[in-house]
């Protein structure tokens, strides 16, 4: 399989997952801050 094809499909698979994890991480951070403020 040509290396260009392989690299392209790795990018296609990893990038949306990366964005999903980034959003989830940012949400968790905000949720923690909300929880801390609510507790206060």
């Amino acid at each position: 399989m040509p290396v260009y094809l392989l690299v392209a499909y790795i990018i296609f698979c990893v990038t949306p997952l990366g964005l999903a994890f980034s959003i989830a991480a940012r949400r968790r951070k905000v949720e923690r801050e909300i929880a801390a403020l609510t507790k206060k």
């Binding site: 040509p2 392209a8 499909y9 990018i11 296609f12 990038t15 949306p16 959003i23 905000v30 909300i34």
Partner: protein, 229 residues
């Protein structure tokens, strides 16, 4: 389990399965293209990714109009969230386009009309996302972003028509004479576009939820400061 969470989980499941089906079709269903060989398989996800990027920017355009017409924060959230997801997809389109161009054109990049417009479009939306945490008041920032998002959308039709109006080496897949593809290639492309659209919808919902939570946090901080003083 709340209804929202149920919808989120269903969307994640459906888009994940659709993505895997599309991936399977690209490698095991679509035929090998005669001229370019195996590397042509980049085409299916490259086009699907460009479609999602363009659609994402269209949603930003609609969100901008909605915000200017109503002043409702939910339109601004929709526009901003969609621009971020769209930008990621357009970045992916640019990079994989370069990977496809190298073995086919002999170069990663050439300053022909379609690629030049794509580069300008990418820079415009990078600036849009960066400008969203600016020092302006939230309302001014949202109004400015709405106008910017509407104006930047001009790059989408320009990019679509660039390969039809001007001499360019970028191939035209959909023309007035139909699609230059075999039925199996068309099936694979359509499934890929559908799968990418589902993934976009999933990511957009998550991104919108994040922005709503940020608003909630900002309101709680204000409340906390007011109580302290």
């Amino acid at each position: 389990m709340g209804q929202k969470r149920l919808v989120d989980r269903a969307l994640v499941g459906v888009s994940g399965v659709a993505f895997l089906v599309a991936l399977g079709m690209v490698f095991f269903y679509a035929p090998r293209e005669a001229t370019m060989g195996e590397v042509q398989r980049i085409f299916y996800f490259h086009v699907a990714s460009a479609w999602v990027g363009f659609f994402g920017f269209f949603v930003t355009f609609v969100g901008g109009i909605g915000y200017l017409a109503t002043n409702h924060r939910r339109w601004d959230i929709l526009a901003f969230s969609s621009a971020e997801v769209g930008l990621v997809y357009i970045s992916m389109t640019l990079v994989t386009g370069m990977l496809w161009a190298k073995p086919v054109w002999g170069t990663y990049w050439t300053w022909e009309p379609r690629l030049t417009i794509s580069a300008v479009q990418w820079l415009l939306y990078v600036a849009y996302v960066m400008l969203r945490g600016s020092v302006l008041s939230p309302e001014r920032e949202a109004r400015f972003a709405a106008v910017y998002g509407i104006a930047a959308f001009v790059t989408v039709p320009l990019s679509w028509f660039a390969i039809r109006w001007w001499r360019t080496i970028h191939p035209v897949i959909v023309s007035g004479e139909g699609m230059a593809l075999t039925p199996k290639m068309i099936h694979t492309l359509l499934v890929s576009v559908a799968a990418f659209t589902l993934v976009y919808a999933t990511l957009l919902r998550q991104r919108i939820a994040l922005e709503h939570e940020r608003d909630r946090l900002a309101a709680l901080r204000l409340q906390d400061e007011a109580t302290a003083s």
